[in-house]
Point group: C2
Chain length 331, copies 2
């Protein structure tokens, strides 16, 4: 067989009209003679027919797809979210298409435009906004015109924009973590605060320091990555951390980088200095010492996003829960 079988082909093979074939294959309310139906199904099977979803999308004016935009799919944070989005989408018979922004606002805007071209039913944006609101304006406009044309937009963890959103509890979790650590006896804090212009990073850092009895000894900014965590920790070390007994990294990936830096410099963790992160990515429990962190159910967040879009919209919070592990023993 060469070339894809078309609906017309199966209709002819089954000896029925196009309409009947369409109705028995993809139609909504079935009202087609059972015998015809069987003939069509058989013909389709025999010809290896698969409906051309593009054509369906054009004809119906809407496609069965969910478009997902993430910063970096290799980052466990986003791959967990993606897993949730994909699972929930598939359950609803929706396909997901996906693109990665590499944390570039400009690129993000382009990709949103591109994805809009697919006329997806839902557009999910995961990843935090920038605090300076750079590029917010055109993005908002783009998203608004998308919703105006019947699409659903769901934001994961970026509360600055006015769309349905799955909020991740950054402030509550960070504050609770700070409280727990103080409770454990820690007194001198340093913070690997991540990008100064990323809302999520800033929220976590601010809530954490806000819940401390005294201001942190040091705050270092850097990218949201493992390597930046490593570099930031080195910087902290070089600055001297005599009065520091705990380093809080605003995400686990950075915390793991920090652990590596401490190890490489021969500084005992948690003996000399304790470390805590945020997110509870799966490797958090596998590093040594196991990392104290704040658990966020990212996969649920992803699933919630599509549920929100397909449901009544609004905002939903996914909780954050402090998970104390070996990296922060009682002091």
């Amino acid at each position: 067989m060469t070339g894809n079988a078309t609906l017309y082909d199966v209709a002819r093979a089954a000896g029925v009209s196009l309409a009947t074939a369409s109705r028995s294959l993809n139609g909504s309310t079935r009202k087609v003679n059972e015998e015809y139906r069987q003939r069509v199904l058989a013909a389709a099977e025999q010809l290896g027919y698969t409906a051309n979803v593009s054509a369906q999308a054009v004809a119906r004016g809407t496609s069965a797809t969910v478009a997902l935009l993430v910063s970096d799919i290799a980052d466990p944070y986003f791959s967990a979210i993606a897993a949730g989005v994909i699972r929930a989408s598939e359950e609803q018979g929706l396909n997901v298409t996906m693109a990665v922004t590499e944390r570039d606002a400009q690129r993000e805007l382009e990709l949103v435009r591109l994805l809009r071209g697919q006329r997806p039913r839902v557009l999910v944006l995961a990843g935090s906004r920038f605090t300076d609101g750079a590029g917010d304006e055109p993005l908002s406009a783009e998203l608004e015109s998308f919703t105006a044309s019947g699409g659903h937009v769901v934001l994961i963890s970026r509360h600055r924009l006015a769309f349905d959103t799955v909020a991740i509890d950054n402030t509550g979790g960070a504050a609770a973590l700070a409280a727990s650590l103080v409770d454990l006896g820690y007194r001198g804090f340093a913070v690997l605060a991540g990008p100064a212009n990323l809302v999520t990073a800033q929220d976590r850092a601010a809530a954490f320091t806000g819940a401390l009895p005294a201001p942190p000894v040091a705050v270092v900014h850097g990218a949201f990555s493992r390597d930046a965590g490593y570099a930031g920790m080195l910087e902290l070390i070089d600055r001297g951390l005599d009065t520091v007994d705990l380093v809080f990294a605003v995400n686990d990936v950075m915390a793991i980088g920090a652990l590596a830096a401490l190890r490489d410099r021969g500084i005992d963790v948690p003996g000399r200095i304790a470390v805590a992160g945020y997110d509870d990515i799966s490797t958090a429990r596998d590093v040594t010492p196991a990392l104290t962190t704040v658990r966020v159910d990212l996969e649920s967040a992803g699933a919630a996003a599509v549920a929100l879009a397909l449901g009544d919209g609004g905002t939903v919070q996914v909780g954050a829960e402090v998970v104390l592990r070996a990296s922060t023993p009682r002091r």
Copy 2:
């Protein structure tokens, strides 16, 4: 603005014909009066026009999409591959749509049919086949009729099927690892061999044991996951590993599970027993002790898959390189 602007709208707004609008917006070889062109562009901009890719796909008879099928996107192995596929696709102006099989052959087949419906230009299947060939037949048929209709199929790491493939060096790497370990003085080996019916797992295990001077002391099967690695290691411990001085897990995720089990049982690594894995996922270097493994550049493999599809096809090997770390010191 309500509803999506259509090409017809912008043509009218610009005072030109549909064809001219099409040509200046999406046309290939541009041969349109610059003034008209500007007018069209302005109108498009003003109306917030985005080409309906579905309509384009229907009209052109081909879509600009790459469909990617992975076993589990939350698994770092697959998310690295996905990152490569996405990056390379975007560089070529292709969108990627993605689905996850959850390692279920039946589901995989369904998803392939579903994805075919999108008439993608390329279909990338990542993830190993089953040794029993279960479900190979219908899958092959499906893939063949896809290629027959002009699509490109690329398999990543599953050499049993006759399509273009990005082969991952499982045997060479495993053999080299075995040799290195023997060289380091290890003599008693146990293998966490993963699923008995997964080609990749089997290849690695077989090549590893084949390169050993004597058969391994023990071989345990289980899923390809962290938890299965943990469970398998416990089983090994319970069987008694007096003569074992090294455990090889056929992938890093399992190896990390094994490390956790050893830690929980208070067994010193690498003092009492050494551990090695495969893949060199990014956390391999962050666990303690850092994991000896075999590096496979998964992201390159993903990128190579789309290059292959867009190029001349064939088979490409991505190399494997032994990476010795602290988990396997000289004995």
